[in-house]
């Protein structure tokens, strides 16, 4: 029996994928090249802009934002102040700004792709049955794997980092948008229809407003997932706090690694609480 199994020829899946990748890279190299160049330019401009703002002003702005976003409470504001000062103090400010750019771009791209995709899924059961397994696949595949096509398409740097993060972070926004819209009570959908709404009137006046808090929860998860890709993306040359962690890891500098990691955690907490508080405010 074992013999029989051993005698079966190996299914050449790996070569297939490889040749598909080759085909893509050789045929679309100009396209990928353009994206790589313009993306890099745009992102480095944003990073420069962020670095150009005096750190103390940016910190104060974030603290004020945190204060008002959490309903004039001091908790998050105090935490942001201390946390950001700590990061600055450790000489990680530039890296923090680079990480911000990375997270910002991958989140925005995920949202821009994810929400329409989620809407499509909610409207068409066929689309849902196709997209759902893809999302499962995207989420269960380890984040590292996305580095391979990212490098193949875009070389190394921040652009492939964003590409890999988008693939990894996209699913929650898509899922939650789909869920939010499907959860709108039937009677309200009927009410919208019975007054003669067009599909887009129904979507923008009824469904999206009612699904908003669910969609926002999805966006929050997407942002957090793209943040979690920061360290992984640094393996292919994405700059930022992640690179500090990686370098420390390679050189077994426990102290540096801890400090950079702590910086990431602080950043993650601030972002998480901020996006959540926006959601709460909108629900009211």
């Amino acid at each position: 029996m074992n013999n029989f199994l051993d005698n079966l020829p190996t299914l050449p899946l790996a070569p297939w994928v490889e040749s598909a990748m080759d085909w893509l890279t050789s045929n679309f190299s100009a396209f990928f090249g353009t994206i790589q160049k313009s993306g890099k330019l745009l992102m480095s401009q944003v990073t420069d802009l962020l670095i150009g703002i005096p750190a103390i002003i940016l910190i104060l702005l974030i603290v004020i934002l945190a204060f008002f976003a959490t309903g004039k409470k001091f908790g998050l504001a105090t935490f942001s102040l201390l946390g950001l000062l700590f990061i600055y103090n450790q000489g990680l400010w530039t890296q923090l700004m680079e990480t911000t750019t990375l997270v910002l771009f991958s989140s925005i791209i995920s949202i821009v792709i994810g929400i329409p995709l989620g809407i499509l899924m909610s409207k068409s059961s066929i689309a849902e049955s196709i997209i759902k397994p893809l999302l499962d696949f995207m989420q269960t595949m380890p984040g590292f794997v996305y580095l391979i096509p990212a490098v193949a398409f875009f070389g190394i740097g921040i652009v492939p980092g964003v590409f890999a993060s988008v693939i990894f972070a996209l699913p929650p926004t898509v899922r939650m948008t789909n869920l939010g819209i499907r959860q709108v009570p039937k009677e309200l959908v009927e009410a919208a229809d019975s007054y003669g709404s067009t599909a887009s009137q129904k979507l923008f006046k009824v469904e999206i407003p009612l699904a908003k808090s669910t969609i926002m929860a999805g966006i929050n998860q997407t942002v957090m997932l793209s943040l979690s890709m920061v360290v992984i993306a640094s393996m292919i040359g994405a700059p930022g706090l992640g690179r500090e962690v990686l370098t420390a890891l390679q050189r077994t500098q426990v102290g540096n690694g801890f400090v950079a990691g702590l910086g990431l955690v602080i950043f993650a907490i601030i972002i998480d609480r901020l996006t959540q508080s926006f959601n709460k405010k909108k629900v009211q």
């Binding site: 009677e187 309200l188 009927e190 009410a191 919208a192 229809d193 019975s194 007054y195 003669g196 709404s197 067009t198 009137q201 006046k205 009824v206 407003p209 009612l210």
Partner: protein, 399 residues
């Protein structure tokens, strides 16, 4: 004039639709069809027409297809077969655009759970129909405010639906429908979620409105009293088929079949009160124990001039009057045996109040409610009449 005409309309949910329709023709039951084909018959071969300005009530038990039928009229549900004509136009064959126009201009729907948008204020809710039609901001605001004013809710226009009671929310639901100035109102159990008193109020309001507006109204309910109160004509549905259409009078006096008869009788029977529901606590003496002095004292305490007389097992022996007790007391009698009058009217606790009403008129004494010879309570004329009159009001607005 005929406003809505429904011709042989059927709706089957699920797959295997032709097989299901075939089985319906063979008069198989809904559950049989579901078992054999997996399809559910929502509505089968419904035909009726509704005149302009008429309130047409569709009535039936839960699951009989009322909601499905009303949703076929504005095609929220696509019919499996048959034609639906509104002002002679065939809704079931219409293009999407034409259908949208009809929905925008001709008919509005009111929902059982109000169907208000929770993220919009009352004013924005009321404006909805006008807004999607592209009516200018000022005009739709004016119209919506007028509609809210008519509903007596203008003061609340900037509140959100969840800040209002059910009755108020449904007034907004109705105002939203009327702001559109539709010719047809579709109301699916619009008042069923409201408590009885509010419900009756809303029925009155609807009838008042109808006096001036003269809309064509399709109204769904599973409550016969509501149907009789507001319907010009009533259709009764069972398992997806319409089994009788007529005025309330026709349906009550001439039920088409046993199903309608039990439906009508059930509701009638529930309207009726028994002796038990109206009796009051009896004031009595124990003939084995109490003497005339005790009896007099008790009468004074309870301010009655008449006591029931029972033995130690609370078996009814009759009654005694104040005059007799006074005489006996003067004679220093030790017991009340000699003054108990046995001639008293008794009724069982489940006897209908309506039947008791005649007896109580002619009876000089209260009527005793007795079960197994034991005294349960007494019926006093005033209380009985009051019970009957308040109950019949309640019954009208009760489910």
């Amino acid at each position: 004039m005929e406003k809505i005409k429904v011709e042989h309309v059927s709706k089957v949910f699920g797959k295997q639709i032709p097989q299901a329709l075939e089985l319906v023709k063979q008069q198989k039951s809904k559950t049989d069809i579901l078992k054999k084909t997996g399809a559910t018959v929502g509505v089968y071969n419904a035909s009726f027409s509704v005149n302009e300005g008429e309130i047409f009530v569709i009535m039936g038990l839960s699951g009989s297809g009322k909601s499905t039928l009303i949703r076929l009229l504005n095609r929220l549900i696509e019919p499996t077969s048959g034609n639906i004509l509104i002002d002679g136009e065939n809704i079931s064959k219409m293009s999407k655009d034409a259908l949208k126009t009809v929905r925008r201009n001709k008919m509005s729907m009111v929902f059982q759970n109000f169907g208000l948008f929770p993220h919009r204020t009352l004013l924005q809710n009321t404006e909805y129909g006008l807004e999607i039609r592209g009516v200018s901001k000022e005009e739709r605001k004016a119209k919506a405010e007028q509609a809210l004013e008519n509903a007596g809710l203008l003061a609340y226009k900037d509140q959100y639906p969840n800040q209002l009671s059910g009755g108020m929310q449904q007034r907004v639901g109705l105002a939203r429908a009327l702001a559109n100035d539709p010719e047809i109102l579709l109301m699916d159990e619009a008042f069923s979620a409201l408590d009885p008193l509010i419900r009756k109020e809303m029925q009155d309001e609807l009838l008042d409105l109808q006096q001036t507006l003269k809309k064509t109204i399709i109204f769904i309910t599973h409550d016969l009293n509501e149907a009789l109160r507001i319907g010009d004509r009533i259709a009764i549905m069972k398992d997806g088929t319409i089994i009788q259409i007529g005025t309330g009078e026709e349906i009550l006096t001439n039920p088409a079949n046993d199903y309608v008869r039990t439906f009508v009788e059930d509701v009638d029977r529930s309207k009726v009160l028994t002796a038990e529901n109206a009796m009051v606590r009896p004031v009595y003496v124990n003939v084995d124990l109490d003497g005339p002095t005790v009896a007099l004292k008790r009468m004074r305490e309870e301010t009655v001039s008449l006591l029931m007389a029972v033995d130690k097992n609370r078996r009814l022996k009759g009654f005694i009057t104040a005059d007799d007790a006074l005489l006996a007391a003067k004679k220093h009698e030790q017991t009340v045996h000699s003054i108990v009058q046995p001639e008293i009217l008794t009724v069982p606790p489940d006897m209908l109040l309506q039947d008791i009403l005649g007896m109580i008129h002619n009876s000089p004494t209260p009527i005793a409610v007795v079960k197994d010879e034991r005294l349960l309570g007494v019926l006093i004329r005033g209380v009985v009449i009051e019970a009957l009159s308040t109950y019949s009001e309640e019954a009208e607005s009760h489910e």
